[in-house]
Protein backbone atom coordinates (compact mmCIF):
# COMPACT_ATOMS: atom_id res chain seq x y z
CA UNK A 1 0.00 0.00 0.00
CA UNK A 2 1.34 3.43 -0.92
CA UNK A 3 2.36 5.60 1.97
CA UNK A 4 2.69 8.73 -0.15
CA UNK A 5 2.11 12.09 1.46
CA UNK A 6 2.92 14.21 -1.58
CA UNK A 7 1.45 13.60 -5.01
CA UNK A 8 2.20 15.89 -7.89
CA UNK A 9 0.61 15.12 -11.22
CA UNK A 10 1.11 16.82 -14.56
CA UNK A 11 2.24 20.08 -12.95
CA UNK A 12 2.88 22.84 -15.47
CA UNK A 13 3.74 26.47 -15.14
CA UNK A 14 4.63 29.12 -17.68
CA UNK A 15 6.09 32.57 -16.98
CA UNK A 16 5.27 34.51 -20.13
CA UNK A 17 6.99 32.71 -23.01
CA UNK A 18 9.15 30.65 -20.64
CA UNK A 19 7.89 27.16 -19.82
CA UNK A 20 9.16 26.76 -16.25
CA UNK A 21 7.50 23.41 -15.51
CA UNK A 22 6.21 20.86 -17.97
CA UNK A 23 4.02 18.04 -16.70
CA UNK A 24 6.04 17.29 -13.59
CA UNK A 25 5.07 14.09 -11.78
CA UNK A 26 6.41 12.95 -8.45
CA UNK A 27 5.47 11.16 -5.29
CA UNK A 28 7.02 11.51 -1.84
CA UNK A 29 6.44 8.84 0.77
CA UNK A 30 6.21 9.16 4.53
CA UNK A 31 9.71 9.17 6.05
CA UNK A 32 11.52 9.91 2.80
CA UNK A 33 14.41 12.27 2.43
CA UNK A 34 13.50 13.20 -1.07
CA UNK A 35 15.92 15.10 -3.31
CA UNK A 36 15.04 17.51 -6.07
CA UNK A 37 18.06 17.44 -8.29
CA UNK A 38 18.69 19.74 -11.18
CA UNK A 39 20.80 22.50 -12.57
CA UNK A 40 20.16 26.14 -11.68
CA UNK A 41 16.93 27.22 -13.32
CA UNK A 42 15.80 23.64 -13.94
CA UNK A 43 12.49 24.17 -12.10
CA UNK A 44 13.24 22.80 -8.63
CA UNK A 45 12.33 25.97 -6.77
CA UNK A 46 9.28 26.59 -8.94
CA UNK A 47 8.00 23.09 -8.15
CA UNK A 48 8.55 23.69 -4.45
CA UNK A 49 6.88 27.08 -4.63
CA UNK A 50 3.87 25.48 -6.31
CA UNK A 51 3.76 22.89 -3.51
CA UNK A 52 3.67 25.70 -0.96
CA UNK A 53 1.10 27.75 -2.89
CA UNK A 54 3.53 30.59 -3.49
CA UNK A 55 3.04 30.12 -7.22
CA UNK A 56 -0.20 29.17 -8.93
CA UNK A 57 0.37 26.40 -11.43
CA UNK A 58 -1.24 26.67 -14.85
CA UNK A 59 -2.18 23.00 -14.83
CA UNK A 60 -1.80 19.87 -12.76
CA UNK A 61 -2.70 18.63 -9.34
CA UNK A 62 -0.92 18.87 -6.01
CA UNK A 63 -2.02 16.68 -3.13
CA UNK A 64 -0.41 16.72 0.29
CA UNK A 65 -1.48 14.42 3.11
CA UNK A 66 -4.24 13.12 0.86
CA UNK A 67 -5.83 16.54 0.40
CA UNK A 68 -5.87 18.89 -2.54
CA UNK A 69 -3.74 21.97 -2.01
CA UNK A 70 -6.27 24.06 -3.91
CA UNK A 71 -9.12 23.34 -1.55
CA UNK A 72 -7.33 22.64 1.74
CA UNK A 73 -4.43 25.09 1.64
CA UNK A 74 -4.48 26.24 5.27
CA UNK A 75 -4.95 22.76 6.76
CA UNK A 76 -2.08 21.44 4.66
CA UNK A 77 0.31 24.31 5.33
CA UNK A 78 -0.19 23.93 9.09
CA UNK A 79 1.58 20.55 8.70
CA UNK A 80 4.41 21.85 6.54
CA UNK A 81 7.57 23.67 7.52
CA UNK A 82 9.69 25.21 4.82
CA UNK A 83 12.75 27.19 4.04
CA UNK A 84 12.67 28.51 0.49
CA UNK A 85 15.94 29.79 -0.91
CA UNK A 86 17.67 32.06 1.56
CA UNK A 87 16.16 32.54 5.01
CA UNK A 88 14.85 36.09 5.22
CA UNK A 89 13.79 37.63 8.48
CA UNK A 90 12.93 41.03 9.87
CA UNK A 91 16.37 42.48 10.36
CA UNK A 92 15.19 45.06 12.86
CA UNK A 93 13.77 42.36 15.17
CA UNK A 94 15.57 39.92 17.44
CA UNK A 95 15.87 36.21 16.69
CA UNK A 96 13.34 35.45 19.42
CA UNK A 97 10.87 38.05 18.19
CA UNK A 98 11.13 36.75 14.61
CA UNK A 99 10.36 33.19 15.70
CA UNK A 100 7.53 34.42 17.88
CA UNK A 101 5.97 36.31 14.94
CA UNK A 102 6.13 33.36 12.57
CA UNK A 103 4.99 30.87 15.17
CA UNK A 104 1.89 32.94 15.90
CA UNK A 105 0.58 32.35 12.36
CA UNK A 106 1.89 28.81 11.96
CA UNK A 107 -1.20 27.12 13.27
CA UNK A 108 0.39 26.27 16.61
CA UNK A 109 1.57 29.19 18.71
CA UNK A 110 4.75 28.30 20.58
CA UNK A 111 5.53 29.18 24.17
CA UNK A 112 8.62 31.13 25.18
CA UNK A 113 10.19 27.91 26.46
CA UNK A 114 9.53 26.12 23.16
CA UNK A 115 11.14 28.96 21.21
CA UNK A 116 14.16 28.95 23.51
CA UNK A 117 14.45 25.16 23.17
CA UNK A 118 14.33 25.45 19.39
CA UNK A 119 17.00 28.14 19.38
CA UNK A 120 19.15 25.82 21.47
CA UNK A 121 18.44 22.90 19.11
CA UNK A 122 19.80 24.88 16.14
CA UNK A 123 22.76 26.21 18.11
CA UNK A 124 21.58 29.77 18.62
CA UNK A 125 21.18 29.67 22.40
CA UNK A 126 22.28 32.94 23.93
CA UNK A 127 21.66 34.88 20.70
CA UNK A 128 17.89 35.19 21.11
CA UNK A 129 17.99 38.92 21.91
CA UNK A 130 20.37 39.82 19.08
CA UNK A 131 18.97 41.60 16.04
CA UNK A 132 18.85 39.33 12.99
CA UNK A 133 20.41 42.15 10.95
CA UNK A 134 23.71 41.32 12.61
CA UNK A 135 23.54 37.57 11.94
CA UNK A 136 25.86 35.79 9.52
CA UNK A 137 24.38 33.75 6.66
CA UNK A 138 24.99 30.52 8.58
CA UNK A 139 23.20 31.85 11.64
CA UNK A 140 20.25 32.98 9.56
CA UNK A 141 20.14 29.57 7.96
CA UNK A 142 19.95 27.98 11.39
CA UNK A 143 17.28 30.45 12.44
CA UNK A 144 15.46 29.50 9.25
CA UNK A 145 15.58 25.86 10.28
CA UNK A 146 14.27 26.82 13.73
CA UNK A 147 11.40 28.69 12.09
CA UNK A 148 10.72 25.65 9.92
CA UNK A 149 10.59 23.20 12.81
CA UNK A 150 8.95 25.29 15.50
CA UNK A 151 5.39 24.16 14.88
CA UNK A 152 6.48 20.52 14.63
CA UNK A 153 5.52 19.96 10.96
CA UNK A 154 5.14 16.51 9.41
CA UNK A 155 6.70 17.58 6.13
CA UNK A 156 9.78 19.76 5.83
CA UNK A 157 10.65 21.45 2.55
CA UNK A 158 14.17 22.82 2.23
CA UNK A 159 15.25 24.66 -0.89
CA UNK A 160 19.04 24.62 -1.32
CA UNK A 161 19.61 24.42 2.45
CA UNK A 162 23.40 24.39 2.26
CA UNK A 163 23.87 27.25 -0.20
CA UNK A 164 26.28 29.83 1.17
CA UNK A 165 27.33 27.77 4.18
CA UNK A 166 30.95 27.11 5.07
CA UNK A 167 32.20 23.47 5.05
CA UNK A 168 31.42 22.98 8.74
CA UNK A 169 28.01 24.55 8.24
CA UNK A 170 27.29 22.14 5.39
CA UNK A 171 28.21 19.15 7.56
CA UNK A 172 26.08 20.50 10.43
CA UNK A 173 23.13 21.01 8.11
CA UNK A 174 23.51 17.53 6.64
CA UNK A 175 23.63 15.99 10.11
CA UNK A 176 20.64 18.02 11.19
CA UNK A 177 18.61 16.75 8.23
CA UNK A 178 19.56 13.17 9.01
CA UNK A 179 18.65 13.69 12.69
CA UNK A 180 15.25 15.03 11.70
CA UNK A 181 14.62 11.84 9.80
CA UNK A 182 16.05 9.36 12.28
CA UNK A 183 15.08 11.00 15.59
CA UNK A 184 11.86 12.74 14.66
CA UNK A 185 10.71 10.65 11.70
CA UNK A 186 10.08 13.69 9.55
CA UNK A 187 9.55 13.56 5.84
CA UNK A 188 11.97 15.90 4.15
CA UNK A 189 12.07 17.28 0.65
CA UNK A 190 15.22 19.09 -0.29
CA UNK A 191 16.39 20.62 -3.48
CA UNK A 192 19.99 20.88 -4.44
CA UNK A 193 22.32 21.15 -7.36
CA UNK A 194 24.96 19.51 -5.18
CA UNK A 195 24.94 15.91 -6.37
CA UNK A 196 27.17 14.71 -3.55
CA UNK A 197 24.75 16.06 -0.98
CA UNK A 198 21.76 14.31 -2.55
CA UNK A 199 23.69 11.06 -2.89
CA UNK A 200 24.69 11.20 0.77
CA UNK A 201 21.38 11.96 2.41
CA UNK A 202 18.46 11.25 0.10
CA UNK A 203 16.79 7.89 -0.27
CA UNK A 204 14.60 8.97 -3.17
CA UNK A 205 14.96 11.67 -5.78
CA UNK A 206 13.66 13.28 -8.91
CA UNK A 207 15.91 14.80 -11.54
CA UNK A 208 14.38 17.91 -13.05
CA UNK A 209 15.80 19.30 -16.23
CA UNK A 210 14.44 22.23 -18.21
CA UNK A 211 11.17 22.01 -16.31
CA UNK A 212 10.65 18.30 -16.86
CA UNK A 213 11.07 15.39 -14.47
CA UNK A 214 13.51 13.08 -16.23
CA UNK A 215 13.60 10.25 -13.71
CA UNK A 216 12.12 9.61 -10.32
CA UNK A 217 12.64 6.85 -7.80
CA UNK A 218 14.94 5.35 -5.17
CA UNK A 219 18.49 6.74 -5.38
CA UNK A 220 20.10 3.28 -4.95
CA UNK A 221 17.80 1.67 -7.50
CA UNK A 222 18.46 4.36 -10.08
CA UNK A 223 22.20 4.14 -9.58
CA UNK A 224 22.15 0.32 -9.58
CA UNK A 225 21.27 0.46 -13.24
CA UNK A 226 24.71 1.87 -13.98
CA UNK A 227 28.15 0.26 -13.78
CA UNK A 228 30.59 1.59 -11.21
CA UNK A 229 33.60 3.67 -12.22
CA UNK A 230 36.72 2.94 -10.15
CA UNK A 231 39.77 5.16 -10.20
CA UNK A 232 43.05 3.45 -9.27
CA UNK A 233 46.20 5.36 -8.45
CA UNK A 234 49.49 3.45 -8.54
CA UNK A 235 52.92 4.10 -10.08
CA UNK A 236 54.03 4.15 -13.73
CA UNK A 237 55.12 0.51 -13.46
CA UNK A 238 52.01 -0.35 -11.49
CA UNK A 239 49.85 1.17 -14.19
CA UNK A 240 51.41 -1.08 -16.85
CA UNK A 241 51.10 -4.13 -14.59
CA UNK A 242 47.49 -3.35 -13.83
CA UNK A 243 46.70 -3.19 -17.54
CA UNK A 244 48.19 -6.71 -17.93
CA UNK A 245 46.15 -8.01 -14.98
CA UNK A 246 42.99 -6.55 -16.46
CA UNK A 247 43.67 -8.14 -19.85
CA UNK A 248 44.41 -11.51 -18.29
CA UNK A 249 41.81 -11.76 -15.54
CA UNK A 250 39.04 -9.38 -16.63
CA UNK A 251 38.88 -9.65 -20.43
CA UNK A 252 36.45 -7.24 -22.06
CA UNK A 253 36.55 -4.75 -19.20
CA UNK A 254 36.85 -1.20 -20.47
CA UNK A 255 39.37 1.14 -18.91
CA UNK A 256 40.96 4.49 -19.52
CA UNK A 257 44.53 5.51 -18.82
CA UNK A 258 44.79 8.68 -16.74
CA UNK A 259 48.23 10.33 -16.77
CA UNK A 260 51.28 8.25 -15.99
CA UNK A 261 50.09 6.39 -12.91
CA UNK A 262 46.29 6.05 -12.87
CA UNK A 263 43.49 4.11 -14.50
CA UNK A 264 39.76 4.51 -14.61
CA UNK A 265 37.86 1.25 -14.91
CA UNK A 266 34.18 0.69 -15.58
CA UNK A 267 32.82 -2.49 -13.99
CA UNK A 268 29.86 -3.99 -12.16
CA UNK A 269 29.73 -3.37 -8.42
CA UNK A 270 30.15 -7.10 -7.51
CA UNK A 271 33.42 -7.31 -9.46
CA UNK A 272 35.17 -4.64 -7.35
CA UNK A 273 36.38 -7.05 -4.57
CA UNK A 274 37.83 -9.45 -7.20
CA UNK A 275 39.65 -6.60 -8.93
CA UNK A 276 41.02 -5.41 -5.59
CA UNK A 277 42.25 -8.93 -4.74
CA UNK A 278 43.83 -9.43 -8.19
CA UNK A 279 45.79 -6.18 -7.95
CA UNK A 280 47.06 -7.00 -4.45
CA UNK A 281 47.98 -10.59 -5.38
CA UNK A 282 49.95 -9.32 -8.39
CA UNK A 283 52.01 -7.09 -6.04
CA UNK A 284 50.87 -3.86 -7.68
CA UNK A 285 51.29 -0.87 -5.34
CA UNK A 286 47.84 0.69 -5.04
CA UNK A 287 47.91 4.13 -3.38
CA UNK A 288 44.25 4.88 -3.86
CA UNK A 289 41.19 3.08 -5.15
CA UNK A 290 38.07 5.20 -5.16
CA UNK A 291 34.66 5.04 -6.67
CA UNK A 292 33.98 8.00 -8.84
CA UNK A 293 30.76 9.82 -7.94
CA UNK A 294 28.14 7.69 -9.59
CA UNK A 295 25.37 10.19 -9.30
CA UNK A 296 27.51 12.78 -11.00
CA UNK A 297 27.91 10.57 -14.05
CA UNK A 298 24.34 9.43 -13.92
CA UNK A 299 23.15 13.01 -13.81
CA UNK A 300 25.47 14.24 -16.54
CA UNK A 301 24.56 11.33 -18.82
CA UNK A 302 20.90 11.99 -18.25
CA UNK A 303 20.81 15.74 -18.80
CA UNK A 304 23.19 15.70 -21.73
CA UNK A 305 21.27 12.92 -23.48
Amino acid sequence: MSNAIVFIRQLSKRFGPFQALKEINLQVEQGDIYGFLGQNGAGKSTTMRCMLSLIRPDAGEIELFGQSLTTNREAILSRVGCLIEKPDFYKYLSAFRNLELFSRISGKSSSRAEIMDMLEFVGLAGREKDLVGGFSHGMRQRLGIAQTLLHDPDLIVLDEPTTGLDPQGIIDMRNLILRLKTEKNKTIILSSHNLHEVELICNRMVIIHKGESLVEGRVDALLQEEDQIIRIQSTATGQAQAIQVLAAQFPGLSYQILGLDSLEIVLAKDLIPSLNAALVQSGIPVFAMEAKRKLEDYFINLVSA
Binding site: R49, S53, L54, R73, L77, I84, L93, L101, G107
Partner: protein, 281 residues
Protein backbone atom coordinates in the same frame (compact mmCIF):
# COMPACT_ATOMS: atom_id res chain seq x y z
CA UNK B 1 -8.38 33.92 15.31
CA UNK B 2 -5.36 33.71 13.01
CA UNK B 3 -6.47 37.01 11.49
CA UNK B 4 -6.17 38.68 14.88
CA UNK B 5 -2.77 37.09 15.46
CA UNK B 6 -1.63 38.32 12.08
CA UNK B 7 -2.93 41.83 12.82
CA UNK B 8 -1.09 41.76 16.14
CA UNK B 9 2.07 40.73 14.26
CA UNK B 10 1.63 43.59 11.83
CA UNK B 11 1.22 46.08 14.66
CA UNK B 12 4.36 44.77 16.35
CA UNK B 13 6.29 45.10 13.10
CA UNK B 14 5.05 48.67 12.65
CA UNK B 15 5.81 49.50 16.27
CA UNK B 16 9.35 48.16 16.10
CA UNK B 17 10.26 49.53 12.69
CA UNK B 18 12.19 52.81 13.03
CA UNK B 19 10.53 54.22 9.90
CA UNK B 20 7.14 54.23 11.68
CA UNK B 21 8.35 56.94 14.02
CA UNK B 22 9.38 59.25 11.20
CA UNK B 23 5.77 60.31 10.78
CA UNK B 24 5.20 60.92 14.46
CA UNK B 25 8.53 62.73 14.77
CA UNK B 26 7.81 64.86 11.69
CA UNK B 27 4.38 65.83 13.01
CA UNK B 28 5.85 66.66 16.41
CA UNK B 29 8.58 68.75 14.83
CA UNK B 30 6.28 70.59 12.44
CA UNK B 31 3.64 71.28 15.10
CA UNK B 32 6.40 72.46 17.44
CA UNK B 33 7.66 74.90 14.80
CA UNK B 34 4.15 76.21 14.08
CA UNK B 35 3.40 76.61 17.80
CA UNK B 36 6.68 78.42 18.33
CA UNK B 37 6.09 80.70 15.34
CA UNK B 38 2.54 81.54 16.44
CA UNK B 39 3.65 82.10 20.02
CA UNK B 40 6.47 84.39 18.91
CA UNK B 41 4.74 86.33 16.14
CA UNK B 42 1.17 85.06 15.88
CA UNK B 43 -0.55 88.35 16.67
CA UNK B 44 0.95 90.17 13.73
CA UNK B 45 -0.15 87.37 11.46
CA UNK B 46 -3.69 87.49 12.88
CA UNK B 47 -3.80 91.29 12.61
CA UNK B 48 -2.99 90.98 8.92
CA UNK B 49 -6.07 88.82 8.45
CA UNK B 50 -8.41 90.74 10.75
CA UNK B 51 -7.38 94.21 9.53
CA UNK B 52 -10.01 94.16 6.79
CA UNK B 53 -12.78 93.54 9.34
CA UNK B 54 -11.70 96.05 11.95
CA UNK B 55 -13.79 98.88 10.53
CA UNK B 56 -16.99 96.85 10.84
CA UNK B 57 -16.22 94.45 13.70
CA UNK B 58 -14.73 94.79 17.12
CA UNK B 59 -12.85 91.73 18.44
CA UNK B 60 -12.94 91.10 22.18
CA UNK B 61 -10.86 88.51 23.98
CA UNK B 62 -7.95 86.50 22.59
CA UNK B 63 -8.40 85.92 18.87
CA UNK B 64 -5.21 83.92 18.82
CA UNK B 65 -6.29 81.11 21.13
CA UNK B 66 -5.78 77.34 21.29
CA UNK B 67 -8.77 76.63 19.05
CA UNK B 68 -7.54 78.89 16.26
CA UNK B 69 -4.03 77.51 16.62
CA UNK B 70 -5.39 73.95 16.25
CA UNK B 71 -7.30 74.99 13.14
CA UNK B 72 -4.21 76.59 11.60
CA UNK B 73 -2.13 73.51 12.37
CA UNK B 74 -4.72 71.19 10.89
CA UNK B 75 -5.00 73.37 7.80
CA UNK B 76 -1.25 73.49 7.30
CA UNK B 77 -0.40 69.89 8.01
CA UNK B 78 -3.23 67.82 6.65
CA UNK B 79 -1.74 68.08 3.14
CA UNK B 80 1.61 66.69 4.31
CA UNK B 81 0.32 63.82 6.37
CA UNK B 82 -0.52 61.60 3.36
CA UNK B 83 3.20 61.30 2.69
CA UNK B 84 3.86 60.31 6.30
CA UNK B 85 1.08 57.71 6.15
CA UNK B 86 2.21 56.31 2.79
CA UNK B 87 5.77 56.05 4.06
CA UNK B 88 4.66 53.24 6.36
CA UNK B 89 1.59 51.76 4.69
CA UNK B 90 3.11 51.72 1.20
CA UNK B 91 5.79 49.45 2.56
CA UNK B 92 3.50 46.87 4.15
CA UNK B 93 3.48 44.39 1.25
CA UNK B 94 6.28 45.58 -1.03
CA UNK B 95 8.67 45.98 1.91
CA UNK B 96 8.03 42.36 2.86
CA UNK B 97 8.61 41.32 -0.74
CA UNK B 98 11.87 43.28 -0.84
CA UNK B 99 13.04 41.72 2.43
CA UNK B 100 11.98 38.23 1.37
CA UNK B 101 9.68 37.80 4.36
CA UNK B 102 6.56 37.83 2.18
CA UNK B 103 7.67 34.41 0.93
CA UNK B 104 7.91 33.21 4.51
CA UNK B 105 4.51 34.67 5.47
CA UNK B 106 2.78 33.27 2.39
CA UNK B 107 3.77 29.71 3.29
CA UNK B 108 2.02 29.93 6.65
CA UNK B 109 -1.48 28.52 7.17
CA UNK B 110 -3.19 31.87 6.84
CA UNK B 111 -5.15 32.71 3.73
CA UNK B 112 -3.79 35.51 1.59
CA UNK B 113 -7.05 37.37 2.08
CA UNK B 114 -6.61 37.27 5.85
CA UNK B 115 -2.95 38.22 5.57
CA UNK B 116 -3.74 41.22 3.42
CA UNK B 117 -6.77 42.09 5.56
CA UNK B 118 -4.58 42.21 8.63
CA UNK B 119 -2.24 44.59 6.82
CA UNK B 120 -5.13 46.88 5.87
CA UNK B 121 -6.32 46.85 9.48
CA UNK B 122 -2.84 47.54 10.86
CA UNK B 123 -2.34 50.33 8.29
CA UNK B 124 -5.66 51.81 9.40
CA UNK B 125 -4.67 51.65 13.07
CA UNK B 126 -1.35 53.35 12.29
CA UNK B 127 -3.21 56.08 10.39
CA UNK B 128 -5.55 56.52 13.34
CA UNK B 129 -2.59 56.89 15.69
CA UNK B 130 -1.08 59.55 13.44
CA UNK B 131 -4.35 61.48 13.46
CA UNK B 132 -4.75 61.10 17.23
CA UNK B 133 -1.19 62.32 17.76
CA UNK B 134 -1.87 65.30 15.51
CA UNK B 135 -5.06 65.96 17.49
CA UNK B 136 -3.26 65.82 20.81
CA UNK B 137 -0.56 68.18 19.64
CA UNK B 138 -2.85 70.58 17.81
CA UNK B 139 -5.86 70.78 20.10
CA UNK B 140 -4.61 69.84 23.56
CA UNK B 141 -1.13 71.34 23.43
CA UNK B 142 -2.46 74.34 21.49
CA UNK B 143 -5.12 75.02 24.14
CA UNK B 144 -2.61 74.41 26.89
CA UNK B 145 -0.20 77.02 25.50
CA UNK B 146 -2.62 79.56 24.06
CA UNK B 147 -5.69 78.94 26.21
CA UNK B 148 -9.31 78.39 25.07
CA UNK B 149 -11.49 80.89 23.28
CA UNK B 150 -13.99 81.38 20.45
CA UNK B 151 -12.83 80.10 17.11
CA UNK B 152 -12.71 82.55 14.25
CA UNK B 153 -12.57 80.91 10.84
CA UNK B 154 -12.30 82.70 7.55
CA UNK B 155 -13.74 80.72 4.70
CA UNK B 156 -15.01 81.47 1.21
CA UNK B 157 -18.41 82.63 2.53
CA UNK B 158 -16.89 85.03 5.01
CA UNK B 159 -16.03 85.06 8.67
CA UNK B 160 -17.47 82.34 10.90
CA UNK B 161 -17.21 82.67 14.64
CA UNK B 162 -17.82 79.51 16.68
CA UNK B 163 -18.46 79.75 20.38
CA UNK B 164 -15.83 78.17 22.61
CA UNK B 165 -18.33 75.67 24.05
CA UNK B 166 -19.30 74.63 20.52
CA UNK B 167 -15.79 73.89 19.26
CA UNK B 168 -14.55 70.62 20.74
CA UNK B 169 -17.18 68.32 19.23
CA UNK B 170 -16.49 69.96 15.86
CA UNK B 171 -12.81 69.11 16.25
CA UNK B 172 -13.76 65.54 17.12
CA UNK B 173 -15.88 65.33 13.96
CA UNK B 174 -13.21 67.04 11.85
CA UNK B 175 -10.54 64.62 13.02
CA UNK B 176 -12.83 61.65 12.30
CA UNK B 177 -13.38 62.86 8.73
CA UNK B 178 -9.65 63.64 8.35
CA UNK B 179 -8.92 60.10 9.52
CA UNK B 180 -11.35 58.70 6.99
CA UNK B 181 -9.65 60.72 4.25
CA UNK B 182 -6.19 59.57 5.31
CA UNK B 183 -7.48 56.01 5.45
CA UNK B 184 -8.08 56.38 1.71
CA UNK B 185 -4.37 57.18 1.34
CA UNK B 186 -3.44 54.21 3.51
CA UNK B 187 -5.62 51.85 1.47
CA UNK B 188 -4.38 53.26 -1.82
CA UNK B 189 -0.74 52.79 -0.86
CA UNK B 190 -1.33 49.23 0.40
CA UNK B 191 -3.15 48.46 -2.84
CA UNK B 192 -0.21 49.80 -4.88
CA UNK B 193 2.13 47.90 -2.59
CA UNK B 194 0.62 44.64 -3.88
CA UNK B 195 1.97 45.40 -7.35
CA UNK B 196 5.52 46.14 -6.37
CA UNK B 197 8.49 44.28 -4.97
CA UNK B 198 10.34 47.34 -3.72
CA UNK B 199 9.51 49.78 -0.96
CA UNK B 200 9.87 53.06 -2.78
CA UNK B 201 7.57 52.38 -5.75
CA UNK B 202 4.23 52.38 -3.91
CA UNK B 203 5.16 55.41 -1.80
CA UNK B 204 6.15 57.48 -4.82
CA UNK B 205 3.16 56.20 -6.82
CA UNK B 206 0.77 57.17 -4.02
CA UNK B 207 2.17 60.68 -3.90
CA UNK B 208 2.07 60.91 -7.69
CA UNK B 209 -1.61 59.94 -7.73
CA UNK B 210 -2.43 62.46 -4.99
CA UNK B 211 -0.57 65.14 -6.92
CA UNK B 212 -2.27 64.26 -10.20
CA UNK B 213 -5.77 64.18 -8.68
CA UNK B 214 -5.12 67.41 -6.81
CA UNK B 215 -4.03 69.15 -10.00
CA UNK B 216 -7.09 67.84 -11.85
CA UNK B 217 -9.24 68.95 -8.92
CA UNK B 218 -7.87 72.47 -8.79
CA UNK B 219 -7.49 73.16 -12.50
CA UNK B 220 -10.35 75.38 -13.53
CA UNK B 221 -10.96 73.51 -16.78
CA UNK B 222 -14.53 72.45 -17.65
CA UNK B 223 -13.43 69.15 -19.17
CA UNK B 224 -12.61 67.85 -15.68
CA UNK B 225 -15.92 68.98 -14.15
CA UNK B 226 -17.64 65.58 -14.49
CA UNK B 227 -14.86 63.64 -12.75
CA UNK B 228 -13.85 66.19 -10.13
CA UNK B 229 -16.58 65.25 -7.60
CA UNK B 230 -15.45 61.62 -7.72
CA UNK B 231 -11.78 62.17 -6.97
CA UNK B 232 -10.88 61.37 -3.39
CA UNK B 233 -8.57 64.37 -3.27
CA UNK B 234 -11.59 66.65 -3.77
CA UNK B 235 -12.88 65.38 -0.43
CA UNK B 236 -9.64 65.38 1.53
CA UNK B 237 -10.54 68.77 3.03
CA UNK B 238 -14.07 67.69 3.99
CA UNK B 239 -13.05 68.09 7.64
CA UNK B 240 -13.29 71.87 7.12
CA UNK B 241 -17.06 71.55 6.76
CA UNK B 242 -17.25 71.06 10.52
CA UNK B 243 -16.23 74.67 10.93
CA UNK B 244 -18.99 76.15 8.81
CA UNK B 245 -22.25 77.55 10.09
CA UNK B 246 -24.69 76.03 9.37
CA UNK B 247 -22.84 72.77 8.94
CA UNK B 248 -23.25 71.25 5.43
CA UNK B 249 -24.19 67.72 6.45
CA UNK B 250 -25.10 66.75 2.90
CA UNK B 251 -21.67 67.71 1.67
CA UNK B 252 -20.01 65.76 4.52
CA UNK B 253 -22.16 62.71 3.80
CA UNK B 254 -21.32 62.95 0.10
CA UNK B 255 -17.59 63.15 0.86
CA UNK B 256 -17.83 60.11 3.13
CA UNK B 257 -19.63 58.16 0.40
CA UNK B 258 -17.04 59.00 -2.22
CA UNK B 259 -14.19 58.07 0.12
CA UNK B 260 -15.96 54.84 1.11
CA UNK B 261 -16.24 53.96 -2.55
CA UNK B 262 -12.49 54.48 -2.92
CA UNK B 263 -11.82 52.30 0.14
CA UNK B 264 -13.91 49.50 -1.34
CA UNK B 265 -12.23 49.75 -4.76
CA UNK B 266 -8.69 49.86 -3.35
CA UNK B 267 -9.30 46.92 -1.02
CA UNK B 268 -11.04 44.86 -3.71
CA UNK B 269 -8.28 45.46 -6.28
CA UNK B 270 -5.62 44.63 -3.71
CA UNK B 271 -7.39 41.42 -2.63
CA UNK B 272 -7.88 40.27 -6.20
CA UNK B 273 -4.29 40.98 -7.19
CA UNK B 274 -2.65 39.64 -4.03
CA UNK B 275 -4.68 36.44 -4.16
CA UNK B 276 -3.42 35.71 -7.65
CA UNK B 277 0.11 36.98 -7.16
CA UNK B 278 2.95 34.56 -7.85
CA UNK B 279 5.50 35.10 -5.12
CA UNK B 280 8.77 34.58 -6.92
CA UNK B 281 11.05 36.83 -4.89
Amino acid sequence: MIFLYSTYNELIKIALKPRSYLGLAAITGLVGIILFALHADGMSMISFVTASFEQTLRFEGEVLNGNLVAFIILQMLIVHIPLLVALVTGDLISGEAAMGTLRMLATKPISRRQLLGSKFLAGGIYTLLIVIWLGILAVLVGRWIFGPGDLMVLNSDGLVIIQENDVLWRYAGAFCVAFFALLTISNLSICLSCFSDNSIGPIVSTMAIILLFTIIGTLDVPVFDPIRPFLFTTHMAAWRSFFEDPMPWDSIRNSLWVMTLHHVVFIAVAMFSFNRKDITV
